[in-house]
Amino acid sequence: MTDFFQNSGLAVKLGGIILKNPVIACSGTFASGLEYNEFYNISILGAVTTKSMSLAPMQGNPPPRICETASGMLNSIGLQNEGIDYFLENELPRMVEAGAAIIVSIFGKDADEFTKIASKIKTYEKEILAVELNLSCPNVEKGGMAFCALPDEINRIVSLTRNILKTGIIAKLSSNFNNIPEAASKAAKGGADAVSIINTIAATAFDINTFKPRLGNITGGLSGPAIKPIALLKVYELAKENIIPVIGMGGIMNWEDAIEFIIAGACAIGIGTANFINPDCGRKIIDGINDYMRRRNINDINILRGIVFKNSGAII
């Protein structure tokens, strides 16, 4: 069902980035994809985004790091990773071997760190489809979400990496500030090909018996179906402005959700938390989109993008 011919109407373009289909595995929820390769062939995905890699290895936050909430989950992983060097030497080759279309997510505490990481990636850039700049992690003290409070910083980081790398550049933004369109404009001006929205939403939970936070880090990021309606509005609002291609994510569990983001204006969609619950959801979502298009005789997915604007343009 997912062979090339049937997928041919699924290709999408995000600035200079071309994907064979719009289904992307989200950063931090797919590791480097190799675990999922045991469930299905991850090369069928539009792209695989790695967990966010930092310059030096990061230990992450103290446990507990996970807390389930109603139709959602909090995480406070805190970007635990082995560092960009380890990744490039040990994991990237295996991803290439698995045939994945690779988006490397990177995280720096400041523009300088981003630049350094980008320079390291430079050597491998032919093997990489795009670099995603994680400007929105709610679980780290420095950098992360804070960048989104300072759109000019976003502009700077994007241009600096843009100057170094020939790969696609994606800026991942936070919904924790009410300024996505502004941040997206700055990213676009800096030379980004697309933006990813949304990262997890800052949130928390407490234990009424121990009076302790349920996360070692006190606060965490909310993801999963609970946030879908919020994410969808952010995607809709930004896509309508037509500033930059949007990769929509937040609570997508199945192909219906994926289509909902696309008709709301997303060029491509990211599946995050769903990978934990149904490790084969990537394949199922691609199949589902395919079937939906066939049933409706749609032979190019790009026709669906933002189709709701026609039915809702006037009012907002």
């Binding site: 931090g28 929820t29 797919f30 590791a31 675990e35 999922y36 045991e38 469930f39 967990k51 230990q59 992450g60 103290p62 446990p63 507990p64 790091r65 996970i66 807390c67 389930e68 109603a70 139709s71 959602g72 989950m73 995480n75 992983i77 635990q80 999963g224 179906p225 609970a226 569990m253 938390t273 990978n275 934990f276 619950i277 149904n278 490790p279 084969d280």
Partner: protein, 264 residues
Amino acid sequence: MKVQKGEIVAARKYSENLYKLEIFSPYICKNARPAQFVNVRCAGFESNDPLLRRPFCIYEIDKKFNVFSILFIVKGKGTAYMANLEKGEILDFVGPLGNGFNIPENKNKFLLLGGGIGVAPLCLIAQNLIENNKTVHFVAGFKDETFYVWERDLIKILRDYRIFSENGAFGEKGLPSEYIYNSLDTFKEYQFLVCGPLEMLKNIQSILRGRKINALALMEEKMACGIGTCMGCVLRIKNKNGDIQYKKICTDGPVFDLMEVCFD
């Protein structure tokens, strides 16, 4: 590991809060090893609450009929959902997960100590050890008589066991850790393997540390993925050099060197 939908061939209630589900799965029966677990979806059709799968150790494997079982305590909404499942319904699970337990070559005698539902994974381990001609002494501690019926499962595996309960309603009255403490000399040749509540693990760690005895433990932490990708289920491990490291319970464990576990 695979995402599977297995038919429930039996759903048994052991007591008010303790249940057993038997599931048909040639794949698990063929591939699973002791101390491995399955990650179970606990929500109805299209429901997203509870969202995350729940991990349960494999309790029994019946290779003849291709049926494995899990033994579980009802705690919250996930296990409440599972307790409601009936024969003929379908269980959605991912597995087998985790490294499982590899029998140390150089050991012949094993002391398995389980607290509460911690006995569940130890049963399959005990079975496996005995099949490999090892000597097993099984010690179990409970609060009350919740596990009364469970003894019938245990007795099929071995006879050399002691059962304690805090209120004396099941087995001998007392704490298994006291028993262990008083019998350390008897068991000094034994490989300890412990699974139970945090307090018990801490207790045993400090008892054994005093005597420089080693032990393995099965650890628990909240999990999102169960397959090593979310980095959620980490345990703080102090290795020989004294460095603290985060290890993933799902893919680095669930069996760890108890002496290296940091409880603070």
